[in-house]
Structures are given as C-alpha cells and as structure tokens.
C-alpha cells in the first residue's frame, strides 16, 4: 500500500508541525521566574536521613517565610537514586536549580557541558568564610562552582565493647597492628568488619587509603595526570587489601550486602554485630537510622599507617557535599544557599551532628565527641585527598570501585586491578 504523494507530504508537514510544538514548550517553566509571579527553586539533595532531613526542610520553610514570593521545592533523594536521576536529567541538557554535588570529576563534566553556574563572582563576598579544604572539591580551573555544606573524612568507626571483648585495648596505629586486631576479633568469634559489597564504593576506601599510606598523596595526584595506576604503590595497595580479604574478616554474605538497609553494613555495626567499618563522618547517623546505634561504645580511629609507606597517618581521605547552582536557575537559588550557609544556620546543623563544619571558626559547634575527633583530625590534616570515585572522571572512579570489588571477591589479582584502572584512565 502506498499513500499518495500529496497526503504523504501532508503527513510529514503535520509531523514537523506537531514536533515543533513539542520542542517549543521546553523553555516555558523557567519563564515564570522573575516579575510578579512566584519564583520556584527546585532543590535536589540527598538529605534522606535524620537529622539532616528535617534541617533541610526547616531551612526551606524559614526561607519561604522571609521571602513569600519564593517557593523552595525540596526533593530529598536517596544517594544512588539521586545519581541515576541526575545523570538522566543532565543528558537532556538540564539540571535542577540547586543540587547536591560532591565536586571532582563529575562536577567538571557538568561544568564542561555548561550546566553549572560559576559562583566565583556572585558569591565572592561570602565565599571567604569557608575553609579552603571545604571549597577545594568544587574548584575547577580556578573557579568555584558550588557552595560547600559538609566536609569530612573516612576512618574506622569501631565498637569499643567488642574490641575490649577481643582483648584489643588500643585502636591499631599501623597496618600490621590492624591485621592483628582483625585476627584477634575473629578468634573471639566476632565479625571484625562490616562491608557493603553490593555497593562497591565502601570497598574502594580500603584500596585508596592503602595506596595513599604507601605512596603518599603525591602518588594519587600524579596518577590523576599521567593515568598510570600500575606503579608500585597501587599494586602494593591491592596486595595488602588481598591479604586482609584472605583473612575472611567481613560478615557472612557481604558480597550481596547493601550499605544502609536493615541488614546492611551500617546496621551491622549499629547493632553490635560487627566490630568496625571504614566509613565517612556520616557513619554514626546512618548507624542510628538503620540500626540501634552504639552510643558511647562507638569510637573513631584514623586509617593506620603502613610500615615503610610514604604517606602520613595524618593525611585525610574524604570529601564533602555541597550545592551547585544550575545555569538557568533564578537568582533566588544562590540567595537561598547564602541563607543556609549563614553562621547561625550552619552551626545549628553542625550541632545536630548531621554535618561537619565548613565555615571557619564553627568547629566548636560540634557536640558529638566522635565527630569532634573527626573535625579535629580534619583541621589538623597534613593533606587531603577527595574520594577517588569523585576525584577522577566518572568512568575511572567506577572502574576503581568495580575492580576493587572484584579484588575483594577474589576475582581479580592486584596487578589486574592496577591494569584495568590504567586502561580506563588512559582511554578517558
């Protein structure tokens, strides 16, 4: 069957017409912002757990009270879902007005795509109140693209009671002491370490910290530029991690375990079923949310030094969280960020234990003794490295996570891990 030429042409014309209408509608929602009507600021964040969740909601309400013409659309989205949704939105060339960012490689890609506003000039008057370490992840080519809201570092969160039960009196300061501790815990019938194997990113902390302790910060920074991860520190990091994994220190079925589910990594530590986890500053609050929480039994110690390694035990590995502003966002978006970052509000959220201070001089607002330890460790840190899965381009970061997960599962050798990461880094 064939349509007549004229009707076919009509069909095509109609298609184009309708298609054109669809395309024309795109810019429409933004047009409302500005004169007269209400300005809506869409705000994607990952504040799905308390106390951060209610703090963010309160900020939105208070700001709206002071600015009746502004509507803050507060959308807390779970971490992993957030990343997937953000990617989809970015690929259609859009961003929310305000959104959580961890800086590093992903932010750089968004900047390169012209999706994120350069805040260097607009926020210049108040940018100086943040600590340099907090701002660092969001700086690309000397410009700042996000406002920090949290900064922290990864370290071991441990159960003092379980350590005591296994006869460990001092948290280990060296890698060999750490391995000893794991053996003692195992001998006492205690699961030494909880690990969310399904999610991969918690596993990469071990490899990254080991590489940092062995090769020093310089090794990681150099790898970021020469894309060579086959150098000794990285292979050696894999070997040490394999030694640890060979002790079978993780909980039963850890390869399928998630992080914050009721049977996940945080809950195991929070319920006293595993002795420790290597996790960021948010660990206590997730342990309380997913499990019972350990209260005074919870302690923190930095990742131990590796004997003969170039890295210092005071070098911190971690990252923060901040908010970036979409290119097309209304001016109110940045104003709202300024409001959240005011000393009074920031001290409130710091005091709640949800985040660590990003403002200079807010350190004394930290109430929780464990978080205070982290804050002190951070402020006296001899160097700082952003999470590898954030610092490097997304493909490299994911390859680190994937390969290290396979190493821990016994499917890749330390050399293969180094090789796989190098290949990905070279192809980016």
């Amino acid at each position: 069957m064939s349509l007549g030429r004229r009707s076919a042409a009509a069909l095509v014309a109609a298609t184009l017409l309708l298609g054109g209408c669809g395309g024309g509608g795109d810019g429409e929602p933004k047009a409302a912002s500005g004169s007269g009507g209400k300005v809506t600021v869409e705000w994607w964040n990952i504040g799905t757990t308390e106390p951060l969740k209610s703090f963010l909601a309160r900020m939105a309400t208070e700001y709206q009270k002071q600015h009746p013409n502004v509507v803050i659309k507060n959308l807390p989205i779970e971490n992993e879902a957030f990343k997937a949704r953000m990617t989809t939105l970015n690929q259609s060339g859009k961003t929310p007005d305000l959104f959580t960012t961890w800086g590093g490689g992903v932010l750089k890609q968004q900047v390169d795509a012209g999706l994120v506003k350069d805040l260097s000039a607009d926020a210049a008057s108040w940018m100086g109140s943040f600590t340099p370490a907090a701002l660092q992840p969001y700086q690309v080519d000397g410009k700042t693209y996000a406002i920090p809201a949290d900064i922290g570092m990864v370290g071991f969160w441990y159960n003092k009671a379980l350590f005591a039960k296994a006869g460990v009196t001092e948290p280990p300061a060296t890698w060999s002491a750490y391995v000893d501790t794991v053996k003692k815990l195992k001998a006492a019938g205690i699961t030494p370490i909880a690990l969310a194997g399904k999610e991969k990113w918690p596993g990469h902390y071990y490899w990254a910290y080991l590489a940092m302790r062995i090769g020093g910060l310089a090794a990681l920074q150099q790898a970021a530029t020469d894309h060579d991860f086959t150098k000794p520190p990285f292979v050696e990091a894999g070997r040490r991690l394999k030694e640890l994994a060979d002790l079978d220190p993780f909980q039963k079925g850890f390869l399928g375990a998630a992080y914050n589910t009721p049977d996940g990594q945080a809950a195991l530590v929070g319920n006293g079923k595993a002795a420790m986890e290597l996790m960021g500053q948010w660990a206590p609050s997730v342990e309380n949310e997913a499990g019972k929480g350990l209260g005074d039994d919870l302690g923190f110690f930095p990742f131990p030094a590796v004997e003969g390694g170039a890295g210092k035990v005071t070098d911190a590995f971690g990252g923060g969280g901040g908010y970036a502003v979409g290119t097309d966002a209304p001016a109110e978006a940045l104003d709202f960020l300024k409001f959240i970052s005011e000393a009074k509000n920031h001290r409130d959220v710091v005091a709640s234990g949800a985040v660590l201070p990003v403002l200079k001089g807010a350190e004394d607002a930290v109430k929780d003794p464990n978080l205070a330890t982290v804050a002190r460790a951070l402020s006296s840190a001899s160097g700082f490295q952003l999470y590898l899965d954030q610092a490097y381009p997304p493909a490299v970061g994911q390859e680190v996570n994937d390969s290290v997960a396979e190493l821990i599962a016994g499917k890749k050798t330390p050399e293969q891990v180094a090789q796989a990461i190098t290949e990905t880094a070279k192809s980016e």
């Binding site: 349509l3 007549g4 004229r6 009707s7 076919a8 009509a10 069909l11 109609a14 298609t15 309708l18 298609g19 669809g22 990343k83 997937a84 990617t87 989809t88 970015n90 690929q91 060339g93 992903v106 890609q109 968004q110 390169d112 795509a113 012209g114 999706l115 194997g197 399904k198 999610e199 991969k200 909980q251 039963k252 079925g253 850890f254 390869l255 399928g256 375990a257 998630a258 589910t261 009721p262 049977d263 381009p393 997304p394 493909a395 994911q398 390859e399 994937d402 997960a405 396979e406 599962a409 499917k411 890749k412």
Partner: protein
C-alpha cells in the same frame, strides 16, 4: 468460553480481511468502476488522519530514540553537550566483544533463556493443566499463582533481597533448620540459580494464565472424542491438548525469550549485577556504562547489540515458528497477496 467462540465466528473469514476500508467502500459505491481522483484522495487523507497520531508517537518515542542510539553508538560520547563529535567507528563494538563482562552477559542471557524454556514454562504448563481440573478453590489458586506477576519488579526485588538475606533472611532461617543454608545472592556461584528462582516465582503465573486461557479455548468435544476413542489422560494431553495449545506455547516462548534478553529491573534491585559481575545482564552492563561511567556512546553500542539480538530473534521466530499464528502480520504479508 462458549461466548468467546461465537464472537470469533462473527469475525470475517481470512479472505475478506483485505477488504477496502469503509470510506473507500463508500467512495466506490458512489460512482463508476474507477472512483474519481478527489474521492480516492479523500479516502487516503482519512487513512492518514487516523494513522497520524499513532505514527507520530511511534516515530517520536520509538523510531527516533532507536536512530539516535544507533547514530551515537559509533562515537565516544559522555552524553552531555548536544550531539557527539568524536567519531570512533566500530571501536565501541570491538571493545564490547573483547570485554569479558559483556561476553559473560551473552552467556548468562543464554543460560537464563534455556532455564526459562526448560524449567519455567513446563512448570507453568503443569500448573495450568492442574488448575484446569474441576477442584475446590480453583479460582483462589489461580489468583495466588498469578499475584506475583502483578507485583512490580522493584517490590519483588526488595522482598526477595530480604528473604534471601544470607544472615537472618527467611530462606536461611527455614532451610537452616535442616542444614541447607546458602549464600543465595551474595555468592558468585549461587547467584544465578537464586536469580532464576525469583524470576520463576515472578513470571510463571503469567505463562500459567496464558496456558490456562489457551486450554479453555480448546472445545470440550475434542478431548471428549479422544477419551471416547480410548485415549488415556496422558495421551489426551500429548496428542490433543498440547498440539492445540501450540499457538499459545509459541507466543509464551517468544515473550519469555525477549523478556530474558532485556532483563534489567529485577537484577538491578536484587544484586546490581554482582557479586563481581556474576549476575550482570546486557541491560545492567548498559546501565553501568551509561549512567555510572558517563560513557553513553559505548552504552548505546551495547543497546544497539541488544536491540539487534532481540530484533533478529523476533523476525526469525515470527517467520519460521509463528508463521501460522500470525498470518497477516508483517512477515507473511507478501505470501498472502
């Protein structure tokens, strides 16, 4: 059932299917053997007007994305900044067929397909035959077995990740009493069977309902006649019911295979493809590269292969296996003329 048969009799016999549309008939009735141009044009415009919305949606939502995916699959592209410009030719495809994970995806897909065809469908058929018997509470059983299909994949995934949790999950609590604990989804060697178990739980009810409706479409007289001729119940099933269920079985196999090729959500929620890629499917690999690594060009290359595999299977299967069931459909159109 009776009613269904009567309406089917009302449908026009195959020969009349190619009868002209109502508008064209009206036009033909109005004048001489050959209708004037204006009328024919109006008829075609009517066809176009009715087709337009569907064509438009199909074009925008199905064809255009497929074409964009095929186009971008030969570029190195992170999905940002408009259309890609870094042309790499077939590099994405070469990389794919050298990648152990992707080759593993193909292997795991094949395993799932075979398991579905050999275990899941016969099981569904057996249950359907059982539930076709007159028995007390038949409707309740049918409903219970069909219920998992209605649940969303995500809910099923969350449910089973709790049941199969290696430490304190229901499955291990129950099986632990007889010493049959398993790592389920957390052990690379048991993850595929566990995944298949969940898939079967989720989808067998759908195939059961298909078979059940197919079985009920078989007139009672036919099986009765066979019984009168002295056929035992196995013989009735083997030589009467099964052949008459042919069309239903063929479509159920088709849906099952296509479903296995595209399996994503259940795997994503249950294991995320792990541990160590041991439950990854093509769709999961595609998602990993597209949404985690921002290598959208490569991810699109994977999706193109997935599409090609599905398309080739669908065409070949429709052409050679379902020929009699889909008369009038695209593959048989020419032979009918």
């Amino acid at each position: 059932m009776r009613a269904a048969q009567d309406t089917s009799r009302l449908a026009p016999p195959p020969g009349e299917r190619r009868a002209p549309s109502p508008a064209a008939t009206a036009a033909a009735g109005a004048a001489a053997p050959r209708p004037p141009r204006g009328h024919r044009l109006r008829g075609r415009l009517t066809i176009a007007a009715f087709l337009l919305p569907a064509l438009l949606l199909f074009g925008l939502l199905v064809l255009a994305p497929i074409l964009v995916a095929i186009y971008t699959s030969v570029f190195k592209w992170n999905g940002l900044r408009g259309l890609p410009d870094d042309f790499v030719g077939t590099a994405n495809f070469e990389r794919m067929f050298a990648d152990e994970v992707f080759l593993g995806d193909l292997w795991r897909g094949a395993v799932l397909i075979v398991l579905s065809l050999v275990v899941q469908l016969p099981f569904a058929l057996g249950v359907a035959m059982l539930l076709n018997q007159r028995m007390r509470g038949r409707a309740v059983y049918r409903m219970i077995f069909f219920a998992p299909y209605i649940l969303s994949e995500v809910i099923t995934g969350v449910l089973f990740s709790m049941i199969l949790s290696p430490d304190g999950g229901l499955a291990n609590l129950v099986l632990g009493t007889v010493g049959l604990e398993s790592g389920w989804l957390s052990d690379p060697s048991t993850v595929m069977p566990s995944l298949f178990l969940v898939m079967t739980w989720k989808y067998f009810g759908f195939h059961m309902i298909l078979y059940l409706t197919g079985r009920q479409g078989i007139p009672h007289e036919v099986t009765e006649a066979a019984q009168i001729d002295g056929a035992g119940s196995w013989q009735v099933f083997r030589y009467v019911t099964l052949p008459l269920l042919g069309p239903t079985i063929r479509i159920s196999v088709f849906l099952s295979v296509i479903g296995a090729i595209q399996l994503f959500d259940l795997v994503w929620v249950l294991t995320g493809g792990g541990p160590a890629h041991s439950s990854e499917t093509m769709a999961v690999t595609m998602f990993q590269f597209g949404f985690k690594r921002y290598q959208v060009g490569y991810a699109n290359a994977i999706s193109v292969v997935m599409f090609a595999v599905s398309l080739v299977f669908a065409l070949v299967y429709q052409r050679y296996v379902m020929r009699r069931d889909t008369e009038g459909a695209i593959t048989a159109m020419r032979s009918q003329r």
